[in-house]
Symmetry: C2
Subunit: 333 residues, 2 copies
């Protein structure tokens, strides 16, 4: 059995507060408990708060700060700016929050949520003697599904992923894809015992089976960019093209054969030209050159333009090169 | 306090089993419990199982079935086929599972998981007298984050979303975006008390505060396509272009001014032509026509091709039209 215990009676947290002591005084912790702490009180205690002059446009300021605090823009829609933060987290407005904050302030994410979790874990041990794990949680939206759930943005002591890939199922066959995002599930579970408005920013999850891991880091929850199938949302092809052009022609890897076949098949079908494309590889490993033959000059240009976009969407840099004889696309990584 | 209680001692479920009776006999239910049932045993009980002849290529068959059972392909990568199922769920392989299934079989999603949940809820009431909610859960991967979490694919009795948007925060300001995906959080929480290999497909979540809702449906968890910022993953622009071309020119809405400005700015920057694009609207509301002026014929074609791709990425249908005088892109919805 697992229990989720809301920690009640915490005061409104302000900069400089000793969260560990406040939590230790408000609850009885045991070895193996997971203490789930809402990001907002961690940020407030650490002073990750921006004070806005009176009359500031809060939404515009938040959008500007989110842009400044991000590695890249994932979606820029009128109603949502989704970025990847410097922590690696993909979330709306870089996690900058304007609810449950003092009037005229914005609350940023903690500078290093894993370090925050480690400090808190260590402090809780000092104060209570209990060897607990700590999860710093935040509320994220999701693609395809409505509603938010809480996820883990910082962990200490708790292995964030339970890797069951080496295991076997009950028929004795290898489990194919089973890496359970335990720290995210703990965060979601903790969110069930509170509402945003009710002031319960700390929940103890008791009874979870796990081995304490002093080296745990939430970075294990962030997908490697090369394996990420959703690097961009709707409407971000334009910026991706600009970025791909900016990075210049210093390619070291050619387009893979399967991606090349795929891109050419799509553009051939789209263009409706029965023999719209031919391929010619330059000598050497990169870039891959696709020469466009057939039809008139404009039509060749159109096909080259679309092929460039399709290759950028596949994750390559690509550019159109024209000579007096040829229209061709060069692409690579 | 909320408790998660694993239900132990259930037999291996086969087609025709009365799940409600099995669960009722294995646990003591109370009014207000949420019974979280793994999709796989619901599918098995309902016979949503495909038996494969000996020697069948399981991975290839699964991929083919997933394609047949989907509304659209979201990503088609060598290692993952992500589709939107006819239920509206976006998931790998249309949720078709090859682990913890009898040798030589594939387990499909239930035909109507909400109906499955409703039948189970009703049966549990008959057998135990308790008014419980039922959630059918399944394990999904996520963009940007590693590891899977369980989500709700069917609900009965439990409102899947807790809408706090009308509420106020502790400073008395309106909560801006707070729709909590309670049914997903319940599913994630239930997953914490089991491992895939240990045969605990049912978990009781006790102590959750909610009002029984007889009209609840998991469809509330599925984001409206028009608001979905992640309709496609990497590499799906080619198919989107083909689809946009296939749908023909029957546009009823023009490109919005902001999208038009955005697309033109991106392509102008990309093309590096100082005066690469000019706009001319045809009379009437749709389609929007963007005429490409400047540079040579090939270059105009390239710009028109890229602009077409950028508009498709923004969710429009688009096509290139050329006359002896002009290269232009027509786009709309």
């Amino acid at each position: 059995m697992i229990e989720m215990l809301p920690v009640r009676g915490l005061p409104e947290v302000v900069q400089g507060d000793d969260l560990g002591t406040l939590i230790a005084e408000a609850t009885e912790l045991r070895d193996g408990d997971v203490v789930v702490v809402a990001q907002k009180i961690v940020s407030k205690a650490e002073g990750a708060v921006v004070r806005l002059p009176p009359g500031t446009d809060v939404a515009a300021t938040r959008r500007r700060l989110a842009g400044e605090q991000s590695l890249r823009t994932v979606v820029d829609a009128p109603w949502a700016l989704v970025v990847q933060t410097r922590h690696g987290l993909v979330c709306a407005n870089a996690g900058i929050d304007a609810s449950n904050t003092p009037e005229g302030t914005l609350v940023l994410l903690p500078d290093d949520p894993d370090a925050s979790a480690r400090r808190l874990r260590s402090r809780l041990r000092e104060r209570t003697g209990a060897d607990v794990a700590v999860v710093v949680s935040d509320t994220f939206g999701r693609p395809w599904r409505t509603g938010q759930t809480d996820v883990a943005i910082g962990v200490a002591g708790l292995p964030p992923i339970r890797d069951e890939r080496g295991g076997v199922d009950r028929q004795g066959r290898r489990l194919e894809v089973t890496e359970v995002a335990v720290a995210d599930e703990v965060s979601a579970a903790a969110d069930l015992v509170r509402r945003k408005a009710d002031g319960v920013p700390v929940v103890v999850v008791r009874g979870l089976a796990f081995e304490i891991d002093d080296a745990a880091s939430s970075s294990a929850l962030i997908r490697d960019a090369a394996l990420d199938l959703f690097p961009r949302g709707r409407g971000m092809l334009g910026p991706a093209l600009v970025e791909a052009a900016d990075r210049g022609p210093a390619w070291s890897q050619p387009v893979t054969r399967s991606d090349l076949d795929r891109a050419v098949a799509a553009v051939d079908t789209w263009s409706g030209l029965p023999r719209g494309l031919r391929l010619a590889h330059l000598e050497g490993p990169a870039p891959t050159t696709i020469r466009v033959l057939g039809a008139g000059l404009r039509r060749r240009g159109v096909v080259a333009g679309v092929l460039t976009a399709v290759l950028v969407d596949l994750g390559y840099r690509a550019r159109v090169r024209t000579t007096w004889r040829h229209v061709q696309v060069e692409a690579g990584r």
